[in-house]
């Protein structure tokens, strides 16, 4: 449990420090006896080195944070700042993802901060069985993210081929009405397509989770998002799953389908996911 800081990193600052946690794994995975991977080159939020704290047969990847920036009061303010959140979320995710390539782990939710190793170990002891259970269930598996957008929205938004032509008011209204009706039909087809895609993919996964669609501000896509789902798969099933996604995309030209991953199994680490 060293207190080293990288050159250029945040200095140890006034007494107030906390421990930021990233992920949980079995303690064997990081014990020196088993040729543990060197984590010291991993840099976490606030610029501090990542290390492992081991207790109750479990190990938690953590780094030290200044409570001036990551304490309760500061977090309340910072978490409302999208730029700050962007940076911290990416740093947190980078540690989880990189470590996740080295050994099976459970990602810990952002901004889980402890006052010290004792508090952390107490929390681990409270959830020991549940954590081991979750590690067995999702550890070593990956999640793939699939989003489906209605591909037809664009044509409607730009007014279709007849847009801009002069004509009588009545002709315009009729044309507009037809466009809107066509848009509604296209959307209905896209919605049922999205359901079909999800049903098909969920059948190939160990578990599936559907989330509300993302706002266009963050997705950077203006098309309506009809499906935002995550699927849990064995790491070795990546090839067949991505092929299945490609097949769904071909079968559903009314949708634009995006695939991301493989991700650490974020969406399946929580205890309240019933796995479909």
């Amino acid at each position: 449990m060293s207190e080293r800081y990288l050159p250029g990193g945040r200095p140890p600052g006034p007494p107030e420090e906390g421990i930021w946690s990233y992920a949980i794994t079995e303690s064997d995975r990081v014990s020196a006896a088993n040729g543990a991977p060197d984590l010291s080159w991993l840099i976490g939020v606030g610029g501090a080195q990542v290390r492992a704290i081991t207790c109750s047969g479990l190990a938690v990847l953590v780094s030290d944070v200044s409570l001036a920036e990551f304490g309760e009061t500061a977090l309340r303010e910072h978490l409302e700042d999208l730029e700050w959140l962007d940076e911290v979320a990416r740093l947190h995710h980078n540690v989880v993802e990189t470590a996740g390539r080295l050994f099976p782990l459970l990602p810990v939710r952002l901004a889980t901060v402890y006052s010290g190793a004792a508090a952390l170990c107490a929390a681990l002891a409270d959830h020991h069985d549940e954590l081991l259970d979750a590690l067995r269930r999702v550890g070593g598996r990956v999640e793939w993210g699939v989003k489906a957008y209605a591909a037809a929205e664009q044509a409607e938004a730009t007014g279709g081929p007849a847009a801009g032509k002069p004509g009588s008011g009545l002709a315009y209204l009729q044309r507009r009405r037809d466009q809107l009706a066509a848009g509604r039909e296209a959307r209905a087809a896209a919605v049922s397509g999205a359901r079909a895609v999800h049903a098909g993919l969920a059948g190939k996964a160990a578990a599936a989770v559907v989330r509300p669609p993302q706002s266009a501000q963050l997705s950077k896509v203006r098309l309506p998002m009809l499906l935002n789902a995550a699927y849990l798969l064995d790491a070795s099933d990546g090839t067949s799953f991505t092929a299945a996604v490609a097949a769904e995309a071909t079968a559903h030209p009314e949708l634009r389908i995006e695939l991301t991953g493989p991700w650490p199994p974020y969406s399946f680490a929580g205890g309240d996911d019933d796995g479909r």
């Binding site: 309760e72 995710h93 810990v108 999205a194 599936a208 963050l218 949708l255 634009r256 995006e258 991301t260």
Partner: protein, 129 residues
């Protein structure tokens, strides 16, 4: 693996099997995972922070889409227990889970009211600072 529609340019960052850690990864993809999901073991520093404060952020992530989705009737993930009960619990926090239509309606209304209040607060925060 983008199968793109007729919209140029937007698929670039997602084309291919983008690793989750690439800097081009969509912030929404990361946030919904690290904030909304991931193991919950309460830290002793910020008690209840996740339950209360992050609600504002979560709403910010989905707020626009939820409104649009309701308008066009594509909020199916909220109410289809066959597809995902958990999604329903998240999207409609007030839903009690007994499947009663009336109560669901009430829950949706409550949520709408809450959305309105929080959206107002977001606007205040955005315009004020």
């Amino acid at each position: 693996m983008t199968i793109s529609g007729p919209q140029p340019g937007t698929g670039a960052t997602q084309r291919g099997l983008a690793g989750g850690g690439r800097s081009s990864t969509n912030l929404g993809d990361i946030l919904e995972r690290v904030l909304d999901k991931g193991l919950v073991i309460a830290g002793d520093i910020q008690v209840n922070l996740l339950d209360i404060e992050l609600l504002t952020i979560k709403l910010r992530l989905v707020i626009a889409s939820l409104d649009t989705a309701r308008e066009v009737g594509i909020n199916w993930w909220e109410t289809d227990p066959w597809l995902n009960a958990d999604a329903g619990r998240q999207a409609v926090r007030s839903k009690r889970g007994d499947g009663d239509g009336r109560e669901l309606e009430d829950g949706v209304q409550e949520l709408k009211d809450e959305l309105g209040r929080l959206r107002g607060r977001i606007r205040e925060l955005e315009s004020g600072q």
